[in-house]
Structure formats: structure tokens, C-alpha cells
Chain length 335, copies 2
């Protein structure tokens, strides 16, 4: 295991210390707890709180989106493991401004279980919560069982929309409703070319031959749709876009945002080459792309591969997407 770390045990705390040393003017720990990060930007009184949680090992997801116009708080667990319910409850309390808190996170059992306990716990403090699950990965379950799908890079768009909706002083119910609409219009799918190594496990999450590609793999190495012989960038783009469009058809005149998300080891050049073909396919259909996001937004440490996310916009969603946001890892000022 060739990682630039101090020890597997200190991996999460050392990362969080790095974040605080680097961005301590923008984010802060909750009562010195190295697992709970809060925004330190000023927020309007009475704004709905937006929080998330999940396992470590996916930076910038999740911690990197705590700031202004996105998340108010985030708690992380060990690598690929859910944080504890009591940390979630502490975070929810810290992010409530009397208008309630939206818990917005990927559809994973550990996170669901713990967030449910946390939400029950804060009910005793008369804190209202709403839960919205991100289930954007079309490869993880067929459409008839779409509620079983995993949340992947589409959650970055979800954080952006929720933060902007809360900044517009929507009520908790209104934020939850706009998130339901947004998530109905977000679909993702990825490919993996190499595994990552969980520090405490010390060995690759899966194995794959030098001439093969995993189509539809999840960000923790969950099984995809099929293992295929390595494809060209254009074939990869076609496979991902075609599968997404079967699930969420688009028509000429539609506006979308597209995210090409590198999973960790995939060079920016390759992400752009895949984006090139995604653009061409959508342009040929008469679909216009707004605010493309190309880069590493949701990773699996050193996994090679990428995902494509398509976010179909209407007037309201476009305005929320374009609203200013600033976090240590995401700035769309002046875009």
C-alpha cells in the first residue's frame, strides 16, 4: 500500500486537520470534534440548515462542500463507513436556526440508519428535519426499483441546489420539494479502470484486468453492469450517455448541466476527451449544456475512472444552480 499518510488510524483526523489548517477562515469544527465540520461563513437568520454525512475517502465529497451557498454542516465516518448517529444529531442541532434542517445524503444503508436515529433524537429538541436521499446512479438498480439506487456524483448538484434554495429563504418543506424535483432530473453513471485501497484494509477494493473496464461500478467498488474490454473515450461517453438517456429522455431545446467527474487517478485530459463526446452527442440532439462541471468532484481516493452526470434544468433549477456558492473546494462566483 503506497499512500502518503502517517497511519491508517490517523487518516481521517489528519485529513481534517489539514482542512482546518488550510481553510480555518471558512469552516470550523463543532466543539473541537474532528469528525464534524461546520460552515463559518455568515448565514441569514432563519435560513434552513443543509447537512450531509457519509464515509471518508471521497473528497471533495463531502467535507469540501461545506461553506456558503451549499452545506452548513457535514460529519464523516472512517473511510467508506457511515459516521455515528450522535455526531449527526450534534451537527443537526448546530445547523438549526429555528427553521429546521434538511438531511441530504446518498442512499446507503449505514447513513440511512444513523440519520434516522439522529432525526428522532433531535425531535426531542423540537428541531424539524426533512430527509432527501440522492439516488442518481442509474447502473445500480433498474428503473422499476429506482428507490434502491445509490447516490454518486449527482449529490454535488444536489448540495448546490439545496444550498441555493435555503439561501433564498425557502421553508424546509419548500427546500425538500425543490430537491425532489431536482433529483428527479439528475442521473449519473460511471466506469472504473482500477481499484482504490482503503487504508485500514491495505489491499485493493477489487481486481480488474489490464485490458478491462468496469461499466456502472459504484464509488466504493460496488459491482456494475458488466466488465468489458477497454473502450475508447468516445465509446465510454456513448455508453454512459445512452444509458442515462434511456432512463431520463431529453429532447431538442432542453437545457442540462453536465458533470464529468474524475474518480481520482484519471487525468483532466481524459475527462475533457470524454466531455468532448458527451457534448457532441447532446449538441446533435439539440440539447444545450449550461455550466459544465469537469474535474474531481466525488472521488474514491486513487480509483481510476469517471462518471457522467446529466442534470436536466428548468428555469428555477437553472437559477439555483447559477446562484453564487463558495466553499473551500467549489467556487462559482462570476460564472
Amino acid at each position: 500500500m503506497k499512500k502518503m499518510i502517517n497511519s491508517a488510524d490517523s487518516f481521517v483526523q489528519d485529513t481534517m486537520e489539514g482542512i482546518i489548517y488550510a481553510y480555518g477562515d471558512k469552516v470550523k469544527l463543532l466543539n473541537g470534534d474532528f469528525r464534524v465540520l461546520l460552515s463559518d461563513y455568515p448565514a441569514k437568520a432563519g435560513k434552513v440548515g443543509i447537512v450531509t454525512a457519509g464515509g471518508s475517502g471521497h473528497l471533495p465529497v463531502f467535507l469540501g462542500y461545506v461553506g456558503s451557498g451549499m452545506l452548513d454542516g457535514c460529519t464523516v465516518g472512517d473511510v467508506f463507513a457511515s459516521p455515528a448517529a450522535d455526531k449527526m444529531a450534534d451537527m443537526i442541532r448546530a445547523c438549526d436556526r429555528g427553521s429546521g434542517v434538511l438531511c441530504l445524503y446518498g442512499n446507503y444503508n449505514g447513513d440511512k440508519f444513523n440519520f434516522r436515529m439522529a432525526c428522532e433524537e433531535v425531535e426531542f429538541d423540537d428541531i424539524e428535519t426533512e430527509t432527501v436521499l440522492v439516488r442518481d446512479d442509474v447502473a445500480s438498480s433498474p428503473k422499476e426499483n429506482a428507490d434502491k439506487r445509490r447516490g454518486v456524483a449527482g449529490m454535488v448538484y444536489a448540495f448546490k441546489i439545496a444550498g441555493a434554495a435555503a439561501d433564498k429563504m425557502m421553508s424546509l418543506k419548500e427546500v425538500a420539494a425543490v430537491m425532489a424535483k431536482a433529483l428527479d432530473n439528475i442521473r449519473s453513471m460511471g466506469v472504473a479502470l482500477s481499484p482504490c485501497i482503503v487504508p485500514k484494509a491495505g489491499k485493493p477494493t477489487f481486481s480488474i484486468a489490464e485490458d478491462e473496464i468496469e461499466v456502472g461500478m459504484g464509488i466504493h467498488g460496488e459491482a456494475g453492469i458488466e466488465v468489458r474490454k477497454m473502450m475508447t473515450a468516445d465509446e465510454i461517453a456513448e455508453t454512459l450517455v445512452t444509458t442515462i438517456l434511456k432512463d431520463m429522455p431529453l429532447a431538442s431545446g432542453d437545457e442540462v448541466s453536465v458533470m464529468v467527474n474524475g474518480l481520482g487517478s484519471t487525468p483532466m485530459e481524459e475527462q475533457l476527451i470524454v466531455y468532448r463526446k458527451v457534448y457532441q452527442i447532446l449538441a446533435d440532439m439539440g440539447v444545450k449544456i449550461v455550466m459544465p462541471h469537469i474535474g474531481e468532484y466525488a472521488t474514491s481516493m486513487e480509483m481510476a475512472g469517471l462518471s457522467v452526470t446529466i442534470f436536466k434544468l428548468d428555469g428555477e433549477l437553472k437559477e439555483l444552480l447559477q446562484a453564487p456558492a463558495q466553499t473551500p473546494f467549489y467556487t462559482n462566483a462570476n460564472k
Copy 2:
């Protein structure tokens, strides 16, 4: 070779097409030439032009910094190869607003040779040029031969400072002078854990054992100072900072900016863990860090490793560093 590309021959053009499809509202090709990218942001009349050039395979270096407040133009060659002199000359002509053009690039022989020809060529058009070479890599040559050092991630700071100086309507001589001062105060050093693969070569640039690390390696796989057994993140940070500080001493009360630059495959978590120790070493010395840059700023495609750059600031350099800039890959608005 497991790359998401269409062919080794189309790698550079496909990448550039991706850039234009994604960011065509911010940057443009020079006369449809897929090797020359120009800023499409408005610029003040008479502003000095800032241009660079170099091999492909280092995104966001170099193309990613074309925009507002950084580079006016950039021409790229094949992967790790210098672009042709006539492309450089075309670019210089396109970026001259009557006040001359600063050619700011890394100290590599091919780029030097071609830029020298290009500058001679545009003299016939009465375009004034100045050349400033970036030589920040302390591992590439001892201090007594510092003029032989390579340019690495420190060139991103150089682009930022030059763009800000030009935006302040400094003359060409003044921009060149402030760049000389800035570069006197910028030092970098890196480590590599794995090689990258040049698409046309199809094989790794070097080999390294599973338990070894290359200390001081260049961004094209140039030999470093030594091959060592794998180190902890803290040991890596100490080695890099100690070597840099021997070359450029710092004292209590100094202000610096620090860049921890991932070379391609190194997770953000590991970059932050190394930053954590760099911060602690400098904090213990009484040195204050301003505007840390942590992420992938200058890569070698899928190479694993990172570099640390320290940029010692004075009042003028700090103001130039903090001036707004916006390019497809770099935004410091509101920082």
C-alpha cells in the same frame, strides 16, 4: 496502456476540443488552430500580454490558466514536447496590444529554443517581448547552478502574479521586474510514487518499486535526488520543506503562500495530510500562510506524487497574488 482516449494521435486535439466545448464562452482558438488558446475575456487596452507554452499532459498547466488575470495566450505541443516556434509567434502577435508581451515559461531547452526564434520573428513586426524563465525546482540543480533548474508547479504562482501585474497596467519592463522578484521568492520540490504513460510511447516513463519513493523527481520523470524507501506523509513534508528552506530561508514573521500540488493520482486526502505537516513546520517557525493552494495545479497525467511550493511574499506580491483572477481552472474571486 489503460487510458480513456480515442487514439494517441488525437490526444491533444481531442483535449483541446473538450476545452473549447466546455469553456468556449471564456477562451477561444487562434484562427481555429487547436494548438493555440487565447483568453476571450475583455482586457484593458494597452495591457501587456502574458503568454506561455509547453508540452501537453500537465493540465491544468498550461491551458487551464488562460483567462482573466492570468494568461492571455498559451500554445501547447504534443505530450511533454515543445510547441513549434511559428505557433508561439502567432500567439505573441495575437496577444500584443501595443505594449509588448511577456513570455513566461519553464526552463526547458525545447521551449527556450522555440520561444527565442518566435521572439526574433515578431521583432520584424515591431513587437517588444521580454522573457522570464521559471526555475523553481530546487531538486533539479544545486543553488550555485540555480539557472539550470527546471520549472514546475511554481509557474502557476508566476502566471498569477504576471497576470495581476499586467492588469495593474504596469509596463513590460515593470512586469518583467516584478516577475524576477517573484521568482526569486518561489521554490518547489516534489516526490513521485508512480510513473505516467505518454500516450504515443504507451509505456511508463520510469519504474519504481512498490515500497520506494523518488525524492526530487521532475514532472516528466526526470531523475530526482534519491530513491528512498516509502516514507510517511510527515517525513515527506519535512524532507521537502527542509530542502526548500535550505535554499530560501524563512524567519518568524514572514508571510508565504504554500502550494501542495497533486501530480495526478494522489488523492486530495493525502495532499491535505501533507499540507497539515507543512503548516505545522511553518507555524512552529512563526511563518504565516496566506492563500494556500491545495489540489492538482500542475500534473503529469496519472503520475502519483506531489510537490510543495513555498512563495515568500512581500506587500506587493501579496496584493498581486490576491488580485481577482478567473480562468476555466482557477478562480480566486472573493478569496
